[in-house]
């Protein structure tokens, strides 16, 4: 009989070769964990190559999940449990493992050849180098093959099910139910029921292996987290973003038009939206990034909600068209799922280094709205905000997601449809002015006095025929104008329009009200910063925190908030881009940057240390 021990939280990392199905294994473990009601956060980490040479260090793919009986904010700094499907996975991930942590290894892959391939002289399972860890050496592959010997599947197919054996074993270790995964497998292999049943058998064999062998003396339970009442699902940032775009179509009453060109890590948004045509969502896989944004802008002109999704290199290509949209004053939503750059950089790794490009990376004075989601589920809400701003102010809106939240997952409390904002759009249908002769006319650049937005008169509207273009327009008439004074006026008006966008005030979390230091982040650092702040407060350290979802314009109370603190610490996965903006916008504020560009999110421990250092130094 095994002992069952209660834990409040655990971090597990599944690691294997790119072909070992670790992302799928992680996804399924996540789904099981979500079903149990734990709070969770995940971090997939995979190579850019689809299949790097088997068994090599560059080919290692991993999936980390942190789950707990309370609310958590990050996928965890260091795993307590590592599942290593081969020597490369062990070697690449061992240094992250907590001292004394648990390792489950697939011994079948620990051959002399595979060990040599990754530079192990001796077998680490035998040379005593792992004696500080609890090692479970399991012949995952041969056990799986043995378990499937009565199935009509090839040895190769049987061997490929070893990830399900591993999932079964870990599910047993952490008392996760597997029924949903069984159902999932039946769906995934609908066309090949034998493969589905073989995978299910492997899953069960893994579970039973844990249950019957005495190697695993303890199994663990993590009770459900006390989350707010409601219905939850697990969601990644990219899916939430795609659903947010879909919801924006519903909320605005507009057809959605996505123009996109495949690029990591944004392609999944295109894939997801392609499935949602029933919402009146049109997706066009364009010939290039420029055509993608061009088609979206053309659709916006025609009265659709034009959206384009990409990553840094693609956004750079779209820059000229975004400037045209600024000049035309048409709605356009541009999503940048940032990745480590410049150029191809680390395409599957995360970074926040496109902020300055989003702000200024266009020719001429071309300000646009810039907003950033702070977590995977926030991607849903941020898209509704993008749609609100784009349609209300007839402007491009840049949404800065990143690889971390795009692929990371967390539980999401599902909104009620009655909570969906009403973003109904009114197109211009009538003349809006009278000319000198007293005749009614239409002025395409006559502005709403409050928003400074111009009318959105879509082609097909009788009587409102007009011409727009990239050449400077006379305010009001929209006629070509080379008048210097008019140009100055138009540049300032377009800037004022963006500066005047209504955004919610910046919230500050300063429970004691006497903190001297404020930590201010933006985008995906929300989780790690939150976890660091929580850790500091548990130690009795006083610190305030705040997070910018709106980068341009910044909330109108930002100056007041910053003025309350002696120092503002800004952690960013870049070399200080928000820091630079803050120093420019709020001179007099002492801004301290904490910057790293390693393609990985901050750990909460390193942030905690960095913040403590600033506080200590006064």
């Amino acid at each position: 009989m095994n002992t069952v021990r209660q834990l409040d939280r655990v971090v597990i990392r599944f690691a294997g070769d790119s072909g070992d199905g670790m992302q799928l294994t992680g996804d399924r473990f996540t789904a099981e964990t979500a079903k149990l009601g734990n709070d969770l956060s995940t971090l997939p980490n995979y190579p850019a190559e689809i299949r790097a040479p088997a068994g090599t260090l560059p080919g290692v793919s991993s999936f980390q999940i942190h789950f707990a009986d309370s609310d958590i904010l990050t996928p965890g700094d260091h795993p307590e449990v590592l599942i290593a499907m081969n020597p490369a996975a062990l070697k690449a991930n061992l240094r992250d493992l907590k001292p004394g942590g648990t390792i489950v290894v697939n011994t079948d892959e620990f051959t002399k050849r595979n060990l040599t391939k990754v530079g192990y002289g001796d077998n680490p399972l035998e040379d005593g180098s792992l004696e500080d860890y609890q090692v479970h050496a399991v012949a995952l592959a041969s056990l799986t093959i043995e378990a499937l010997k009565d199935f009509d599947v090839s040895k190769k197919d049987a061997e490929r099910s070893k990830n399900m054996f591993a999932l079964g074993l870990v599910s047993w270790m952490y008392s996760r139910p597997t029924e949903a995964t069984e159902e999932f497998l039946r769906g995934k292999f609908k066309a090949k029921p034998v493969i589905a049943e073989a995978n299910i058998a492997a899953l069960k064999a893994g579970w039973n292996y844990g249950d019957t062998t005495e190697a695993f003396a303890v199994r663990f339970e993590i009770p459900p987290a006390k989350l707010k009442a409601g219905t939850y699902r697990n969601i990644t940032g990219n899916v939430a973003l795609a659903w947010g775009i879909t919801a924006s179509g519903v909320a605005t009453g507009l057809p959605v038009f996505l123009g996109a060109y495949p690029i990591t890590p944004a392609s999944d948004i295109l894939h997801e939206l392609s499935k949602h045509k029933r919402f009146g969502v049109t997706t066009v896989q364009a010939e290039d990034e420029i055509a993608a944004v061009g088609a979206a802008l053309g659709a916006s002109w025609g009265g659709a909600l034009g959206v384009t999704t990409s990553s840094g290199p693609g956004i750079a290509l779209k820059s000229e068209t975004i400037s045209l949209a600024v000049s035309l004053e048409l709605p356009l939503v541009v999503v940048d799922v940032q990745r480590a750059g410049p150029s191809t950089g680390l395409p599957t790794k995360t970074e926040q280094a496109d902020l300055v490009m989003a702000m200024f990376g266009r020719h001429g004075e071309a300000p646009i709205a810039v907003i950033a989601p702070q977590s995977p589920s926030d991607c849903f809400d941020i898209m509704l905000e993008a749609a609100r701003i784009a349609t209300t102010y007839r402007t491009p809106v840049m949404v800065l997601s990143d690889g971390y939240i795009a692929n990371g997952a967390e539980p999401w409390q599902l909104p009620a449809m009655s909570d969906l904002p009403d973003l109904t759009v009114k197109f211009a249908t009538e003349m809006n002015a009278v000319d000198a002769k007293g005749e009614e006319i239409f002025l395409p650049f006559q502005r709403d006095p409050e928003t400074l937005a111009r009318p959105w008169a879509v082609p097909g509207t009788p009587g409102l025929q007009h011409r727009i273009g990239g050449i400077e327009k006379a305010d009001g008439t929209g006629d070509i104008s080379y008048d210097p004074v008019n140009h100055d006026h138009m540049v300032r008006t377009r800037a004022a329009k963006i500066a005047g966008i209504e955004v919610p005030d910046l919230d500050v979390d300063d429970p004691t009200g006497d903190a001297n230091v404020l930590v201010l982040g933006w985008g995906s650092t929300w989780g790690p910063i939150g976890a660091a702040v929580r850790g500091l407060r548990e130690k009795g350290v006083t610190i305030a925190r705040s997070h910018l979802r709106y980068l341009n314009p910044m909330p109108h109370n930002t100056a007041r908030v910053l003025a309350r603190y002696d120092k503002v610490v800004v952690p960013e996965m870049n070399l200080g881009q928000l820091t630079m903006l803050l120093r420019n916008n709020f001179p007099g504020t002492e801004v301290v940057g904490y910057n790293k560009v390693r393609g990985l999110p901050f750990t909460s421990n390193e942030l905690q240390d960095a913040l403590e250092e600033v506080i200590k130094n006064g």
Binding site: K228, A229, G230, R278, V281, G294, M417, L420
Partner: protein, 339 residues
């Protein structure tokens, strides 16, 4: 627009003039094209608001400003992409693209070929003057080798594109050529283009009096034009002056009528499915403009991209209550409830 019917015109040419002062150089071929288009547009039988002109950058791309329709003067080379977005989302509009040799064939080459291969419902008018006008006279991708310009003082060394060959190679379903100065022919070609369902590519030879004057003179001068222009007429043998066009090897060849057997003279058919025939026609003339066919080279039917995209959306969206479907989407898959 999927279905343009050339009804009896209700509007007049003047109804399509905008209030903007036309600002091309005196003598520019664009004036003639503008006048021809303005007097043709009533034939579409559409209200003005149902027509949209999209252009890129260049002299020709100022075109939309001068028409009282909806118009968008966009950025260099990108008009076909922008027009694709409009055409896909707005089947009720007749969408036209006005572009030039630099705009369509140099900076925007990629968008042109993809619009044509997709067969998007766009009427693309390419004004070819074989020179960059707006930037003051550099050689273009249709300039002949050795063209002397400010950027090629010793003569350009580039080999030019044959725009029609390029369009045909891009799987275009409608390919035609006409002349700025021949209003009747120009309008005849526009009519055929408008009636075509899918991408219609029309090359219009256009004179730039400032930087490349007389580039097409051989096709206009009464002394040379009859032996230079081949007027393609569907169902008619291809003859011009005292010459005929016959099959030759893998292509076509011009022969003196006296030396050819009448039975060998090619009878023009724009709806020949194999693009090799239209391609061979496009190769009859080169930079020197000897034996230049004008008219409709190719006019075949193929499903259009925009209709295909729309039919998938329409099929999927039929009868769907979006809000209810969104609620179902959010709740699909694994969910759990916290009490």
């Amino acid at each position: 627009m999927a279905d343009v019917k050339l009804d009896a015109p209700k509007l007049k040419a003047k109804d399509f003039k905008s209030s903007q002062e036309v600002r091309w150089c005196p003598g520019c071929g664009d004036y003639a094209i503008l006048a021809a288009v303005q007097s043709f547009l009533p034939e579409l039988g559409l209200e003005r608001e149902k027509i949209a002109f999209v252009s890129g950058i260049g002299c020709s791309s100022r075109f939309p400003y001068y028409l009282n329709t909806y118009g968008l003067h966009s950025i260099h080379g990108r008009a076909p992409a922008i027009a694709t977005g409009l055409a896909v989302s707005r089947p009720d509009l007749s969408v036209w693209v006005v572009t030039g040799d630099g705009d369509a064939l140099s900076i925007g080459g990629n968008h042109l070929i993809h619009a044509l291969r997709r067969n998007v419902n766009l009427k693309i008018l390419l004004f070819n003057n074989r020179i960059y006008g707006l930037t003051k006279g550099q050689y273009s991708p249709t300039s002949g080798p050795g063209t002397l310009t400010k950027s090629s003082p010793m003569g350009s060394v580039d080999a030019p594109f044959n725009p029609l060959s390029l369009a045909l190679g891009s799987e275009a379903t409608f390919v035609a050529r006409t002349l700025d100065s021949d209003r009747a022919h120009l309008q005849e070609v526009l009519r055929a283009a408008a009636e075509h369902e899918g991408s219609a590519f029309v090359e219009i030879y256009q004179n730039c009096p400032i930087f490349n004057d007389g580039a097409f003179e051989v096709l206009k001068n009464p002394e040379t034009r009859d032996e230079s222009i081949i007027r393609l007429q569907d169902g008619e043998p291809i003859t011009f002056g005292d010459k005929v066009v016959v099959q030759s090897g893998y292509g076509l060849q011009v022969k003196d009528a006296s030396e050819a057997d009448a039975a060998d003279v090619v009878v023009h058919k724009a709806d020949v499915d194999d693009p090799a025939y239209a391609f061979a026609l496009s190769r009859l003339s080169g930079i020197a403009l000897d034996h230049t066919p004008i008219g409709v080279f190719r006019n075949v039917k193929r499903p259009t991209y925009d209709a295909g995209v729309r039919s998938q959306v329409d099929e999927a969206a039929a009868g769907v209550d979006r809000k209810e479907a969104l609620d179902r989407l959010l709740h699909s898959g694994d969910t759990w409830t916290v009490l």
